[in-house]
Symmetry: C2
Subunit: 350 residues, 2 copies
Amino acid sequence: KSSFNQKNHPHRRYNPLLDEWILVSPQRANRPWQGQTEKTSGEQLPSHDPNCYLCSGNVRINGEKNPDYKGVFVFDNDFGSLMKDDVEFSGETSDFFLLKPERGINRVICFSENHSLTLPDMEVNDIKAVVDVWQKQYEELGNLDYINHVQIFENKGQVMGCSNPHPHGQIWAQSSIPSIVLKTQENLKRYFEKNGTSLLEDYVKKELEADERVILENEDFAALVPFWAIWPYETMIVSKRKTENLLEFSEEQKLSLASIIKDLTTKYDNLFNTSFPYSAGIHQSPTDGKSHPEWHFHMHFYPPLLRSAEVKKFMVGYEMLAEAQRDITPEQSAEVLKSLSCTKNNKNFD
Amino acid sequence: KSSFNQKNHPHRRYNPLLDEWILVSPQRANRPWQGQTEKTSGEQLPSHDPNCYLCSGNVRINGEKNPDYKGVFVFDNDFGSLMKDDVEFSGETSDFFLLKPERGINRVICFSENHSLTLPDMEVNDIKAVVDVWQKQYEELGNLDYINHVQIFENKGQVMGCSNPHPHGQIWAQSSIPSIVLKTQENLKRYFEKNGTSLLEDYVKKELEADERVILENEDFAALVPFWAIWPYETMIVSKRKTENLLEFSEEQKLSLASIIKDLTTKYDNLFNTSFPYSAGIHQSPTDGKSHPEWHFHMHFYPPLLRSAEVKKFMVGYEMLAEAQRDITPEQSAEVLKSLSCTKNNKNFD
Ligand SMILES: O=P(O)(O)O[C@H]1O[C@H](CO)[C@@H](O)[C@H](O)[C@H]1O
Ligand SMILES: O=P(O)(O)O[C@H]1O[C@H](CO)[C@@H](O)[C@H](O)[C@H]1O
């Protein structure tokens, strides 16, 4: 009977944010891949594209004209998933056919007027301007009486369903607290009620001590591969001190956040010499007017690539029906990410 | 104030199997799509491919030779995510770094020696032979003392991470009950303890009465688009009477199951005139030796396509961070699927 080694033996790990286990299969990392490969573009984009509906001064699909903006530009999504309208609802639903109308607002945030950029290409100060807008939007939308949650996120890359390379993110603000956020909140709350401290503050301390999965650190934030990460190069940026939401951040802290986002996304680009695709988004306290001492600001990065710019991890079959599964261990991923430079390798990769 | 209409207004629906809400945005179905499109193959495959490691008589990557099988053939996966070995584990883990070794067995099930087939192309009797093997495998693996759960599933199509078109499925059998199955079990159990009946038996009755989301029905099974489906054409095959697992099925019931699988997957192929990709899998009682009166056999089909063979739904960004979201309503999807023929449109589509 050999003794257990987490680098070689299949095992399950516990995710305390979702109260869920995941399957890790380190011995499987070497299996050959004969399946689907992703397209990469290689193409150098122009700084202004006359056909892009997000560029300055262009006309969008619905006929509206973008202003000649410079820097960050926010507008209501022309094809939102939510509507502002307050509708009359009789509320007759039965046990198995339970539904509720949902009100909300979808916005698009262009990060820059420059069509060819992505976050890692931008100056730290210009990324800070994006963080400023996140803060303002969280406040403005959160103050509306029918908005109880503000989800800020970015889909980057074709493989992540992003249909326009112009640097942009989204906000979906709505009446209900979405399922995954609610689950996270319940677990943060259970921990807070038991220990009187923030789960993520305690966790980050332990990670900084262990120094095995931490990739970047500055005065205010740490970027790490969570012990329970499911995507091959999944990371999380966490504030080192408990902060419930964006509103608590000072100018300096926003600059710290911008700086760690730039460094992390630059490492990502350097990993496979490609403009690295991901979905990223912020988890923070809901805007439901209740007190939320359990909340702790963090930002998830979920990138799909596994071995190269062309080969991604498929979360299918077993993963959809049974449990999230990963091959390469979080410690191996962290080691790779740590070793990469925070300066971009070269401009025209792909 | 207009009055709520589930065909036009954003709303959330409740999934009682996972105790989770999902977001439905029917008004968003018409947004233009300029993003990534999927490759389709079109190519007619040979009935035997000398380069396929699943075909009869061929040598696999690890050097083993497949027998000259006809019909269904099962073997241990050469690149499994689990290992049979029992390892020594000290068990020192801390609060935030919780892990446990996991034992198990991965198997591959070739559905037929004919490389060019998929389930909808096979005769009902030949699909029944697959169901027979599922039943036998569930029994054989489930009887091993260290196997407490047997996950049977199929990934079909490149877009679902399937790297070989040879008709095949998989089994991942393991010591633990996987996260999603456990969550389902908890909800089935809560319902059973409260009502003394099976959640899914009661649900199917209501669906048959409502007759809005039911696509197919025979003596023993119904195929329907769940009220809470997240994928555009997601369906579920449910046994009409409470059945905890495959072992309870008679020869006739297995034939009924084979027949409804054939009809459902044929409708799928006809939908976009393509060999329709999906992940499908069975949820049934675990093999942990405990009594499970709460369990009710069902099979999920999670297909990614949204508008055509080339345009899929991306579960990214908001969906990864916040909540599952769909555009077309389950009722609209059911209507489309119901209207399609159970006889294949033509042989060489794609
Ligand atoms: O085992 P396969 O078919 O090589 O691999 C496929 O199915 C597995 C189980 O759903 C997934 O973990 C893999 O990501 C996927 O590519
Ligand atoms: O809003 P977009 O960028 O058009 O669409 C993309 O992001 C949305 C939010 O994550 C998803 O619901 C869509 O499936 C995806 O294609």
